[in-house]
Amino acid sequence: MIRSYALAPLRCVALALLAVLGCVAMLPLMTAVGAVVTYPYVLQLVRRMAGLSRRLASAWGGVRIDPPYRAGPAPAPARRPDGWYELDGQLYKTQRYPAFFLRMKWLGDDPASARDWTWLVLLAPLGGVVVLLAPALVVAGLLLVASVTAPGRRALAATGLTDLVTWPDVVVPGWAVAAAGVGAVAIGVLAGPALLRLHGRWARVWLGDPYLNWWQRSGIGAWLRRGGHDAWKAALLLGLSLTGFAVFLLTLLLTLVSGGFGIAWLAYAIRPMVNHYRRLCVEWGGGAPLPEPYRQREDVSEPGPDGRYRAGRTLYATRDGARRAGFFPWVLGDPATWRDLAWMATAPLTALPAVVPGALIGIGYFGLFWQVVFWPLWAVPLGLITGWWVSPWYIWQLFTLGMPAADAVPGWVSVPIGLALGLLGVLLARPVLRVITGWARLLLSPSRSARLTERVEHLAQTRRDAVDAQSAELRRIERDLHDGAQARLVAVGLSLGTVEQLMDRDPAAARALLAQARETSAAALAELRDLVRGIHPPVLAERGLADAVRALALDAALPVDVRADLPGQPPSPVATAAYFAVAEALANAARHAQASRVGVDIRHTRGLLRVTVTDDGRGGAEPSYGGGLHGLRRRLATFDGTLALHSPPGGPTVLTLEIPCALSSPRTSTC
């Protein structure tokens, strides 16, 4: 107890020294990170240093911090039969490089790594400054006490320290100075453990599991981060739209030089960028997907009787010529081209406000607020060494240079102003992003006729698929019947005919044949039963979707929980498609996912039948696996249904299918 109080000021000094050491060590370490080879080793070293902080927080501050690192790295790839090692489609001769890359990815992807850095560069020194309070009080107190005694005063005068301070002209009795000194020492000693604990908590906020501290739990941190990201995205979109504007100007120039040809070439060349912009708008601005609105390029028609190819009103000798000539009407006749150009001409105008949140956050938060935080780290050593003291409000002064009115405002006001500006920037980021993506949506989304064309193409495709699938299904049924039940019934008929003849002459043989005929008919029945199950499960006809899925769940190899909330029945083809999708998902969960439980949820909301199949397996399922999902997707597309597979490595796998449909015959499902 006494020992811990006595040691506390020393420990505080040690923590402060360690913080300085860590901060100083960062410079070479950051350089080393740049050289790729040393990257993992540096991160490992940083982890060790953060680990030391964790251990000290536990030993001295009594605050336990569990390392928040992700498990890893992923096991190195196994040797292939041909002797190589594969990682992400790349082959390596030895296991060393894949293992290195995996290690790098593991260390680099972990958000805790970034927090370790922040801690060492910035936050540990901040904590160190606070923690120094205890030893500073003790030293100051000792100096005060020493200044009362004659030898002490002489020694102090000899150091020349007293000349640094201008003492006020008040006569304080010696005993009061001594008492104040003793008091300072006592406070310093008593506050030591508390400060160490405080430091431990401070360390836990940054070095522990981020979800354990209130800042992350409250969601404020996430909200601020999102605002910052939005500001950044808006700035990026501004950059892209400026590129678009440059292309627009170039188009104008080329139009003067080469007429319509220039427009066609440039508008065609810029399409990938505009498409990228479309994707970013959906990804960042949300909302429905923005499909590419461009028309399909039509093939060159077959040559006429004279062997020439026609494009528009011109005849060409070769197919290539006609194709090249068809390029211009194709691009220029597409309204989407002109809408693209209109967007390029106007986008910078709507994107310009993106400057505002970025500037507010940059100047306010990173400038005016962080200037104070950084100040002790560079200005204090600089001042101590060169004697040239920079004001803590240096950025504020930079901005108000030449504004005499600003001198009337005390410098510290810049810090709250900075925070307020940063907050304003965060608040503005989302609306600004909305405006930018909204304008893009207006001009870059397909026009009504383009959408209808797209829809017609989609319907034609799915109808073709449906017809194909149906005829394939009919062929399969025909084959099954022909080779199975039909053949067996022929055999039964033959046996019965023979029995008729044998009945009088050889009753024993007739009986044996009859037994055989009975067995054959039973086999035919079993085959028909399987066939029927594959076409339209009888339980689906008898009980509807919810109970059919329950029956399926009972027959599954895994325990399956079925939850169904269906006030009526979906149309029969939709129910059948959903049923087979669930059957496929359950089979996959049992076969590939190594799952131990599966949950099936069926509900109908706002005109949409939604079925979710969740398993707790190992995840990592590819949408292409088995090809079964592809078939299901095609089957669902006929009803405008969608199928989404979400399966991160490590699970859980969630398969969601949605089919727009109305429910009929309000027959409540039995729960």
């Binding site: 029945l525 009888p538 008898e542 009980r543 190899a557 895994l558």
Partner: protein, 215 residues
């Protein structure tokens, strides 16, 4: 034995009537729709009802629903359900009230008249007759029934037959075992599945099915 028969296919209905009449049964009513079946069951209170799952007018599981409704009003009313396909779901719903007198067979089983009539008599006597396919499906899920994995191959065979509703003597005949050997196996099965032994055939089957169904 007085029988009520519900079957919508004329040929099969007539065939069943002939088969039952030939084996000392009186078919008091042979109906073809769900509502008629419910009426017949409640007015005639037969010794056993032979019911097709799918009946007009809706051609859904009307027969099953009529049988279940009748059994709610007349607990223990013996019903033998016939179907073109078997579902664990239906087996469970039939057995749910735990009063016995339940049969659930594929329609194919009527091919073998002796076995079919044996099942009819067992159900009429308050016992059970489960189709081997239902039992096979239940037993195919070892991962869902951990205790099942503890059974030996022979014990599984015994359990299968037991679950179909067969007596110890019948099991012995089927597997060429002595009565005492079958008794030993059943005791061992009960032990491994943590079931209290009981002399009552019906309760025994229900317990086994309930246990299997719990997975």
């Amino acid at each position: 034995m007085r029988v009520v028969l519900a079957e919508d296919l004329y040929l099969l209905r007539e065939g069943l009537v002939r088969l039952l009449e030939a084996h000392d049964c009186t078919v008091v009513a042979a109906v073809e729709t769900g509502p008629d079946l419910l009426d017949a069951l409640l007015t005639h209170r037969p010794d056993v009802a032979v019911v097709d799952v799918r009946l007009p007018p809706t051609n859904t599981d009307e027969g099953l629903q009529a049988a279940l409704t009748a059994r709610r009003q007349v607990p223990g009313l013996p019903v033998l359900v016939l179907s073109q396909h078997v579902e664990q779901l239906y087996a469970r719903e039939l057995l749910a009230d735990g009063t016995g007198g339940i049969g659930y067979l594929l329609k194919d089983r009527v091919f073998n008249a002796d076995q079919f009539l044996d099942a009819v008599r067992r159900v009429a006597g308050g016992g059970t007759a489960m189709d081997p396919e239902v039992i096979a499906k239940l037993l195919q899920q070892p991962t869902r029934n951990v205790p099942l994995a503890r059974l030996t191959a022979r014990e599984r065979e015994v359990l299968e037959l037991m679950a179909e509703g067969r007596s110890n003597a019948a099991i012995g005949q089927r597997l060429f075992l002595s009565d005492s050997a079958v008794g030993k196996h059943t005791a061992s099965i009960f032990g491994k599945l943590d079931l209290a032994p009981s002399d009552d055939d019906n309760r025994r089957v229900l317990a086994v099915l309930a246990y299997l169904g719990a997975g």
